[in-house]
């Protein structure tokens, strides 16, 4: 494998007293909106198949421990 630089952004590590790494997040607005439109469609679809009584569904889901 050819030697290459990994596209790493996270600071490798810090020691006591080092500065915190600033938050790294820069996503294109356009992609975000496309995603939101897709999610909206998905939520419409999901509404159709959701368990009707969420509270009862969650309450009744009881398992014995396993392994």
């Amino acid at each position: 494998m050819a030697e290459r630089e990994l596209k790493r952004r996270t600071a490798p590590s810090t020691r006591e007293g080092d500065e915190e790494e600033p938050a790294a997040s820069a996503q294109g607005e356009r992609q975000g909106e496309k995603l939101k439109a897709e999610l909206d469609d998905l939520l419409d679809e999901i509404d159709e198949v959701l368990e009707e009584n969420a509270e009862e569904f969650v309450r009744n889901y009881v398992q014995k421990g396993g392994e």
Partner: protein, 496 residues
């Protein structure tokens, strides 16, 4: 050189019997029976095998120990898998697979087997009753059930070194293979955590130990090699979540195979990455979807989970350069693990929604956040807990996971093929092929042996002590040359 990382996954599924009497053991038995009832199958043999191999990896049969009867359902399938009832859950153990990609295929085949089981059960249940299966790891009320991985290792490597050197990976790999969970359910985890990366992380209370149901350890010491104990160890990994995203399963297994191979070859390099407080660290990492939390290492450094994973990846890239990819699934799979490992870490640190098609906790969180926004819900709203559960429902008509645009690594046809046929690259090939050809002559089977009843006394046991033997390459021609199981046994014992 590290031994090839033959691998497998055992999954205990959550089960709901709608309209039933609430006995999960009976419901699980009914489910498994409904599926295997229609199949030719052999029972599971709990007896330990006889040692002794010939060059092909099969020993000559000797005196046989008595058969053990089991009252719970236990079946070996023609794909080489084991399908049975464990405690109060249906459990599917994949056949031994030669690499992470093949294991994704057999894990998916397991989901298909459970779906077929649900349909078969519906045929025999009274009207109004249904059995529903969930591929998850907890009920949200403090009860957890497992998804265990197994990796073939060289017995010569001291276990203490494995436990110390694998810990950092087990604490941090959840950033890409956690299945995600709304809220917390144990006293240790604290009540103010809205969402966790992992279903299982909060259940771990010890660093190293033998237990799997109480005081769960991050590194499990169960030592049942199901193979020649002089040469091999089977590392039994209980720290993982069951995944639905194929890429998550691929990375979970693929990266772990790399780390274990590096440990075996003493190629992990330095500095050693050892969490100072692994139990605390695994929970801290789980409780922080922003991925910014840092954990303490024994050398005094503080590092994020992503930071640990970047270091492990860098070392894996170097390992591949120095020692090749023979132990980690071969050229194609090994390279793909490295490529996707880098891609997922890059995506996670940029924006976790970028990897919602690859990582379960990201897919689930994105869905839940969108639903929360739309309906203006608080995190403790039961509708979010319901979404979480229903993400894991295996029924196609109810599964939320299946509605998400996640990435597939294995085609549907290949999955369906894996429901009935074994992998070609391990001893599972011999097991599955023998069952497909001569099920009526096989009285029992387990991971490392088959017992044939040829109509003459005594029963003939065929040990399979090497997971790397019994592949299509090794025994394909032999199997094809035998018209009967008697011929096979005679050939294996040197009398045919």
């Amino acid at each position: 050189m590290a031994v090839p990382k033959v691998c497998g996954i055992e999954t205990e599924f959550g089960i709901q019997h709608l309209g039933g009497d609430g006995n999960p053991v009976a419901s699980s038995s009914l489910l498994v029976n409904a599926y295997v009832g229609g199949l030719a199958r052999a029972g599971w043999d709990f007896e330990d095998e006889q040692p002794g191999n010939d060059a092909r990896g099969f020993a000559r049969e000797g005196a046989l120990p008595p058969e053990v009867e089991t009252h719970l359902v236990n079946a070996v399938l023609t794909n080489g898998a084991r399908y049975y009832v464990d405690h109060a859950h249906p459990e599917y153990s994949t056949p031994e697979c030669p690499d992470a990609l093949e294991l994704v295929r057999y894990d998916r085949a397991g989901e298909e087997i459970l779906r077929r089981s649900m349909r078969a059960a519906a045929q025999v249940l009274p009207p109004g009753q249904r059995i529903v299966v969930y591929k998850n790891n907890s009920d949200g009320k403090g009860n957890s059930y497992g998804c265990h991985e197994n990796y073939l290792m060289d017995r010569a490597v001291p276990f203490s070194r494995i436990a110390r050197q694998v810990m950092a990976h087990f604490v941090t790999r959840q950033v890409f293979c956690g299945a995600g969970k709304v809220g917390t359910e144990t006293a240790q985890a604290g009540a103010d955590v809205p969402y966790q990366l992992s279903q299982r992380a909060e259940f771990f209370e010890e660093e190293v130990g033998l237990e799997t149901t109480l005081k769960r350890p991050i590194v499990n010491t169960r030592d049942e090699p199901h193979a020649d104990p002089q040469r091999y160890r089977r590392l039994h990994v209980i720290v993982g979540d069951a995944n639905l995203c194929e890429v998550a399963t691929f990375l979970k297994v693929g990266t772990t195979a790399f780390v274990l191979a590096m440990i075996e070859d003493e190629a992990l390099g330095s500095p050693e990455l050892v969490p100072a407080n692994p139990v605390q660290a695994i929970r801290q990492v789980a409780a922080d979807p922003s991925l910014k939390t840092t954990i303490d290492l024994t050398d005094g450094r503080r590092i994020s989970a992503l930071g640990v994973q970047w270091e492990l990846l860098e070392r894996a890239v170097k390992y591949a350069e120095d020692q090749g990819l023979g132990a980690v699934g071969g050229e194609a799979v090994g390279r793909e693990v490295l490529r996707r490992w880098e891609e997922v870490l890059h995506g996670l640190e940029t924006d976790p929604t970028e990897v919602a098609g690859q990582v379960d906790w990201c897919a689930k969180l994105q869905l839940i956040e969108a639903y929360r926004d739309r309906h203006g819900l608080d995190w403790d709203d039961q509708r979010l807990a319901a979404l979480d559960l229903q993400y894991h429902d295996l029924r196609p008509e109810r599964s939320l996971f299946q509605r998400l645009p996640t990435e597939h690594l294995v085609g549907e046809e290949a999955v369906l093929e894996a429901v009935g046929s074994p992998p070609r690259g391990t001893r599972a090939y011999f097991r599955g092929q023998c069952l497909a050809r001569w099920a009526s002559a096989i009285t029992s089977a387990n991971w490392d042996s088959l017992v044939f009843d040829l109509g003459t006394d005594p029963l003939r046991r065929v040990p399979m002590m090497d997971p790397l033997r019994g592949t299509a390459e090794h025994v394909g021609a032999l199997l094809d040359s035998c018209a009967t199981p008697a011929q096979l046994v005679a050939r294996l014992s040197g009398r045919g």
